[in-house]
Symmetry: C2
Subunit: 314 residues, 2 copies
DNA sequence: CCATATCAATAACAAAATGTAATGAAATGA
DNA sequence: TCATTTCATTACATTTTGTTATTGATATGG
């Protein structure tokens, strides 16, 4: 006969015995407990025996072939229930994480990108994942790169090309370059504006030093068209504001400018075709979290649809 | 290939996987976790795999043959730790219950019994079980019987004989009947007082209607000695108080009177021997709890020792 | 009183979980 | 390059957890 011993650590303790114990207390009999657990009565009997062995003393007294909980069992019951609820919370939390509907998603993106195409995409995502909290910040491209590489942010959007070694880059969307100008402007009636058309025109440009700006400069240079840069600024919004007042032709990212187009501001494709490309960046040091992956897929889908609308056929 | 699924209930969840998960997070590697758990590394690997399968997604990313926790793992970790701590609390509580050093013990006993022999016994028990709370109340014998039978009290002391069907009775201690009297009393010099010695003496008696009183009455009757009951009262303390003032001879329970004996109050054995017997009662409807059992054993031991001192050899 | 039903325990066995030792692959560092 | 470290995998033993069938004790209803 085994000498009764007090429990040491968690040896021999299992969630199943705890569940059986709880079910017996709650239902009042081993048979009913078995039914509620979806197992057979002998299994419950043995799980209970194993728990009793763990604690070292009887939890029920057997009389008239029934089980009656002892004082000790009732004293333990509360703790057991709390622990099982804890285990259930683990499963629940896991399910939420699995469904990516819980957590904090930190995104960095250029200001104009947030104000432009990203706003609706993020808004949609938030509606679809109501319990996800989102942090959406703007930083300089250099800082954004570092934040994402160091995993201080989960992901970001950045203008391509991008070759930071700590970043994983996925091309996310492309946008054509357009000329933004007032309907009163002489070129307003054209369906497409060539570099040559801009000879002598006041230009509104932005992004001095950026790759995309270098591309524009180089196109003018190759075409032998001198640039008459009337206004140099930093945001698409400002560039469009001045174009609307007919102070010149702004050469801007079509997708970012789209929101400013109206009766007083026309957007006309620029030729030769000049593509702005944005990438989705994550850290190369760790795989995306489930939440980030969910957001990535959402972006793929949304931006894909957005682009199909903008550029139906290539 | 298994499609990832979110966790349902507690299926497939085990404390061991949770322990393995916690150990890996805390120690930073599966090998170290294995060491700290006292099992082998492959076992840890598989426990982790089983937990990952339960939650439905990866908890670590494997790179450079190392394990790095994902965001999801860190989010789950807190809950897992709480649950494991809960399980540890179950074991701790069980150990405390096992050692009977936790809980509430409700005792009922006659007032004179508490004031007399029980006080030291309970005090000792409290010292040995510092975290046990004790409720010690006095009720009429009838109420005491009901309280214990209905399990409103865990146990009680009662004068025997006792034959309530709902009670389990264990004889606990016996005490001789003594005469308490002043040193100035004529009988003070005797080593033993017989019934006949009390002929014509003023008597102080108590417990009218009780079994023990009936026994005294019957002894006098059989001896043909008329009783000169000068004072009728209810407690041993009062009976002794008057005996001390030499107002008569009190015939009382020796063990209860013992505490009042001093230079002004002698206790002299009464003959024929008349035994007061006290029983330890518990409910017949349920077995004693561990705590009650521990108290019962403590009483057995303490009263046994006490009785050996009082009546060294029979 | 007896047939019947219920309940818990147990035995015998199948399946799953959990342990082991041995080995392999990949990265690390001397 | 070579020894070491780390994790995954394989093959196998052991323990846990489940099953069905049976038993003994106890109500219950005729």
């Amino acid at each position: 006969m085994g000498t009764a011993t007090s429990p040491k650590g968690l040896e021999g303790l299992s969630l199943k015995s705890l569940e059986a114990f709880r079910a017996i207390i709650q239902s009042g009999s081993a048979t009913a407990a078995a039914t509620s657990l979806g197992i057979t009565q002998p299994a419950v009997s043995r799980l209970l025996a194993s728990f009793e062995q763990h604690v070292g003393f009887a939890l029920f007294y057997r009389e008239k072939s029934r089980l009656f909980p002892t004082e000790e069992a009732l004293a333990l019951f509360k703790e057991v229930e709390l622990t099982l609820q804890g285990a259930e919370r683990i499963s629940l939390l896991a399910r939420n994480i699995f469904n990516s509907d819980l957590g904090l998603l930190k995104i960095v993106a250029p200001n104009s990108f947030i104000a432009g195409p990203l706003a609706d995409v993020v808004a949609d995502f938030m509606r679809q994942h109501p319990r996800v909290n989102i942090s959406l910040d703007t930083h300089s491209p250099a800082t954004a790169r570092e934040l994402v590489a160091h995993r201080s942010a989960d992901c970001g959007f950045i203008q391509l090309p991008e070759n930071h070694p700590g970043l994983q880059v996925e091309s996310m969307l492309q946008s054509h370059t357009v000329c933004a100008l007032s309907p009163a402007h002489p070129l307003a009636s054209k369906g497409r504006i060539e570099v040559q058309d801009l000879l002598g025109q006041n230009l509104i440009l932005l992004g001095k030093g950026r790759y995309s700006r270098m591309q524009i400069d180089s196109i003018f240079q190759q075409a032998g068209v001198p640039m008459k840069v009337k206004l140099e600024t930093h945001t698409v919004a400002i560039a469009c504001t001045f174009a609307r007042r007919n102070l010149g032709v702004a050469i801007v990212n079509g997708m970012l400018a789209r929101q400013y187009a109206d009766n007083n501001l026309l957007l006309i494709p620029f030729a030769p075709a000049l593509i702005y490309e944005y990438g989705f960046i994550t850290s190369a040091h760790a795989p995306m979290s489930r939440l980030t992956t969910a957001f990535f897929n959402h972006c793929r889908q949304s931006f894909g649809r957005m682009q199909d609308e903008l550029i139906p056929k290539a």
